[in-house]
């Protein structure tokens, strides 16, 4: 029996919805092939699949809506995807604590709609489409996505399904009688609450998350600032940080701005845009936003920076930005711009960002967005949009050559996807060794996301 037959048979035996799909629907792979996609409809079914996979030694990769496998090559032997899209219950919205308890199939769109009715909002990741899983986006990407005011931890605690099918609850969830298991501070060994972040599902699957919700304010104001270069922008950022102004802050290059503002990828105008545009969103009670506006104006004057209510020549740009943040659509356009988009994300000190840009700006249609994550450092997304079909194949290879240089010049790939992991861990050997040890303990048969992260 082939691996594919075995995976199909397993799901059928367990009476779990299963279908055959093309491998390339799920991965950026050059390998042609077919996989079985099982869709459990409850946690119990998911647990069953995991323990049966262990018994039959079937390697598998989990999938949730919008969960991309960037640079993730798989071999043709690979046969099974476990798709958790049907685990899509919003189990609870606790208005007192402003916490939602959700399964991984819950998307930003559905959660935003559900909590919006209660005067609350979900912290969105500006580049992640609204159809994506909230929980897995947070666990995989949030270390890089930050809301200056709210830090990098939108998940309070979670229930994690280990590769062997056992369930572990983190933080206060590990204490009995925790009616509301929201506190990440719980029993000893806090590591057990944190190590799932950025783990690319190699160590277990978060199947329930208790996530933070915020007040949906009526006063939401956007301001724009133009800069010729990134260094002057970063000086202004430092001042904002001290004043604590801005719930969402985003810096973009002209092409990126064009992609955000246009409705269609083939109708992008960038000529009138500045080299860097800083977008800042203030939210709060009316009086609160009013004093922040005055603080902002005063600071901008001091630094000789002009405060704009709208992007010059772009009517309704502020409203458009708010809509994009509430419910992001821009990345789906960006992906179809010219020959398609390839991007890499990393953390860098602000002062190093101009040098890093120098290294890559010659590649096809370079664009970038930068999210300041903390004082003096930002999350950078460098994107390339291939000029032709032919270039589509070669850009990833060119990137592979450039990444070591980026690392040398201060790019820190805290999320080392695909080929990046090898390059990153070559410089972090003790860290990698420990990860391998933990992986061995959790998944001795190496079935879950085999090969990923080199563990």
């Amino acid at each position: 029996m082939t691996n594919l037959d075995a995976s199909l048979a397993l799901s059928q035996r367990l009476d779990i919805e299963v279908s055959k799909e093309r491998l390339s629907n799920y991965f950026t792979t050059t390998v042609e092939g077919t996989v079985s996609v099982s869709k459990p409809s409850s946690l119990e079914e998911l647990m069953e699949i995991l323990s049966e996979n262990q018994r039959e030694r079937i390697p598998f990769i989990p999938y949730a809506p919008g969960f991309e496998y960037i640079f993730q090559e798989v071999d043709s032997e690979f046969s099974m995807i476990v798709d958790v899209s049907n685990l899509d219950r919003i189990v609870d919205v606790d208005e007192d604590s402003r916490v939602a308890s959700i399964e991984p199939g819950v998307t930003f769109e559905s959660l935003q709609n559900a909590v919006g009715k209660k005067g609350l909002r979900v912290l969105t990741s500006v580049e992640v489409p609204k159809s994506s899983s909230v929980l897995w986006t947070y666990t995989e990407l949030s270390p890089l996505y930050s809301w200056p005011r709210y830090g990098t931890e939108p998940v309070l605690t979670m229930n994690v399904l280990l590769p062997n099918g056992k369930l572990v609850k983190t933080g206060a969830g590990a204490l009995p009688n925790s009616g509301k298991p929201y506190s990440p501070i719980g029993p000893p060994f806090t590591l057990l609450g944190r190590m799932w972040y950025g783990s690319q599902m190699t160590l277990g699957l978060p199947v329930r998350g208790y996530i933070k919700l915020k007040t949906a304010h009526e006063s939401n104001i956007v301001r724009f600032f133009k800069f010729d270069d990134f260094l002057s922008l970063s000086k202004f950022l430092a001042a904002l940080k001290r004043l604590r102004i801005g719930e969402e802050i985003l810096a973009v290059t002209p092409l990126e701005l064009g992609l955000i503002l246009s409705d269609k990828a083939d109708k992008i105008k960038t000529t009138s845009y500045p080299n860097w545009l800083l977008i800042l969103v203030m939210r709060g009670y009316e009086e609160e936003v009013a004093y922040q506006k005055r603080d902002l104006l005063q600071e901008a004057r001091k630094l000789g920076v002009k405060v704009l209510d709208e992007i010059e020549g772009q009517k309704n740009s502020a409203a458009k930005i708010l809509k994009e943040i509430q419910s992001p659509t821009w990345m789906s356009r960006a992906r179809t711009y010219q020959g398609g988009r390839f991007s890499i994300s990393f953390i860098a000190e602000d002062k190093k960002i101009p040098d890093l840009i120098q290294l890559v700006s010659h590649l096809d249609n370079f664009s970038s967005f930068v999210l300041p994550v903390d004082a003096g450092r930002s999350h950078c997304n460098f994107a390339f949009h291939s000029r032709s079909e032919g270039r589509k194949q070669s850009i990833p290879d060119e990137l592979k050559k450039i990444v070591p240089e980026l690392i040398e010049h201060g790019a820190f790939f805290s999320r080392p996807f695909g080929f990046l992991s090898e390059m990153v861990y070559a410089r972090n050997k003790p860290y990698h060794k420990l990860l391998k040890q933990f992986k061995q303990d959790l998944d001795p048969n190496n079935l879950l996301c085999r090969g990923r992260l080199g563990i």
Binding site: T152, G179, P187, P188, Q292, D295, R427, D441, L442, L453
Partner: protein
């Protein structure tokens, strides 16, 4: 007794004046404020060693491993749980010589230091450069390395989160002697220590609440913050928990204030009272509930937040009590760099006692503040000793503090009945009271945190799946079992 060969090796590593098995020295290391109550079984270390560099720590770990000798790292030693006192003898590694500030990165607003720099010193150095760190309620002599990895609350958690969220990266000597660095510090070549996550699965919190079992922290990078234009402590007093709590909840939900905690009953004055008598006297004149708030920011921000605080206090029948105090500056100092002198010996004992201080420290939520306080109060009033007005006027002796996280998604609530921990009548009463309290808390959905001093074996547990995983990792790191053996009681552990 330590094998002579072990002591010789240790002396070779650190120099003969920094390693000793002198019983007089060792006995001094076998006691803290909690052990004298003999709630656990403690032993004197067989020897004490004081390394000054990371490589010395690595070499000491190698010796301990070779001779299968227990090894216990010691920070400030005021964890109120005797977590640093040997259960099985062995070597205490006193880290006090590792007290250098390695770097203050003014652009990334972080500081990198060896573990034994005190909060007081770190605060001072940072404030000189225009930055600050949120300080814990602990005496400022506590060391950053052990407090950030084993402490909890701080005086600015509403804005910045609790202590652990300030750890940017750590350098640790693992139990096999190898060196691990986390976050961007993990990159062996870049020298950048400014990013707290990854690479990949995030191991930054490996030492957090691990009681030395996962290795020894030899360096830590912590997050600091730019100093604000204004720092304004403003305290509100209330007579009833039903008034104080809604005011508090609304302030927290509005995400104003940098620091905030709700002190109920006895708690706040216990810090400075010298004797039980003094504490009781102070309690009688102290307001029943205090919201200890601090507002920081620009002039406009402070004005706005102060206005909201005053409105909400007024609306909920409270009053502001800090307006015209002659010693107001003390409140600012306490907030920015907790003064050790505020702590009396009594306060230390109160904290260190097995239930005489906090009977529970529970990760919880804001809506549990009133039920927790009522459960505590009702049980105390029914107790033959605590309810006995002649013995200690219980009404003033119960205490509670609630510390919310930013936005109030969760809160840490701690509570207890204060009495002098050496009072035999009190000790007897606690033995009756605490199990009942734990049960009452369980009924309202609050489960006290296991890792604290007052958590005694058998009272309640941690989920077996969690413990199994923790044990797996501990074993993967330290299969020989040299690190702080026995620190987690098998009864709690199982």
């Amino acid at each position: 007794m330590i094998e002579p060969a072990v002591l010789e090796r240790l002396k070779d590593i650190v120099g003969s004046e920094f390693a000793t098995d002198d019983p007089e020295v060792c006995i001094a290391y076998s006691r803290d404020l909690a052990t004298y109550l003999k709630f656990g079984k403690y032993r004197s270390p067989d020897c004490v060693v004081l390394p000054s560099t990371t490589s010395e720590v690595q070499n000491i770990v190698a010796v301990a491993r070779q001779f299968k000798t227990p090894l216990i790292p010691l920070g400030s030693g005021i964890n109120v749980a005797s977590a640093h006192i040997p259960r099985k003898g062995g070597i205490i590694m006193d880290l006090r010589r590792m007290n250098n500030i390695l770097e203050i990165d003014e652009e990334a607003v972080t500081a990198t230091l060896q573990p034994h720099v005190t909060i007081a010193r770190m605060s001072t150095e940072l404030q000189r450069k225009g930055f600050f760190i949120p300080v814990p309620g602990a005496p400022s002599t506590v060391t950053v390395g052990s407090n950030y990895t084993h402490g909890n609350t701080n005086k600015a958690s509403l804005r910045f989160g609790f202590q652990y969220s300030h750890i940017v990266s750590v350098e640790m000597v693992l139990p096999d002697g190898s060196l691990l660095r986390t976050g961007s510090w993990a990159d062996a070549f870049s020298g950048d220590r400014s990013w707290p996550r990854g690479p990949g699965p995030d191991l930054t919190l490996l030492p957090r609440y691990a009681l030395g079992l996962h290795g020894i922290v030899t360096g830590i990078t912590i997050k600091a913050h730019p100093l604000d234009d204004i720092c304004l402590p403003i305290w509100a007093a209330f007579e009833h928990v039903e008034d104080a709590t809604p005011a508090f909840v609304e302030m927290v939900h509005r995400e104003i204030c940098t620091g905030s905690s709700l002190y109920g009953g006895f708690k706040y004055n216990s810090y400075s009272a010298d004797t039980a008598e003094c504490a009781w006297r102070q309690s009688r004149i102290h307001p029943e509930f205090i919201l200890a708030l601090t507002i920081q920011g620009s002039k406009r921000r402070v004005a706005f937040e102060e206005k909201v605080v005053r409105e909400l206090t007024d609306k909920n029948n409270g009053r502001i009590i800090t307006d015209r105090l002659p010693f107001y500056q003390m409140f600012v100092d306490t907030h920015m760099a907790m003064s050790a002198s505020l702590y009396s010996e009594f306060a230390f004992k109160y904290w260190a006692s097995p239930g005489a201080g906090p009977s529970f420290l529970g990760p919880s939520s804001m809506d549990k503040i009133i039920p927790c306080f009522k459960a505590m109060t009702n049980l105390a009033s029914e107790d033959e000793a605590f309810g006995d007005v002649d013995w200690g006027n219980w009404e003033f002796n119960r205490s509670m503090i609630a510390y919310p996280d930013q936005g109030g998604h969760f809160a840490i609530i701690e509570g207890g009945i204060a009495a002098h921990p050496t009072d035999p009548k009190a000790i007897k009463a606690y033995k009756r009271y605490v199990p009942k309290l734990i049960k009452a808390l369980a009924d309202i959905g609050v489960s006290p945190d296991q890792s604290r001093a007052n958590t005694r074996p058998g009272e309640f547990g941690i989920s077996p799946e969690y413990l199994e995983l923790a044990e797996k990792f501990r074993h993967a790191l330290d299969e020989v079992g040299i690190m702080n053996p026995g620190v987690i009681s098998p009864l709690i552990y199982r």
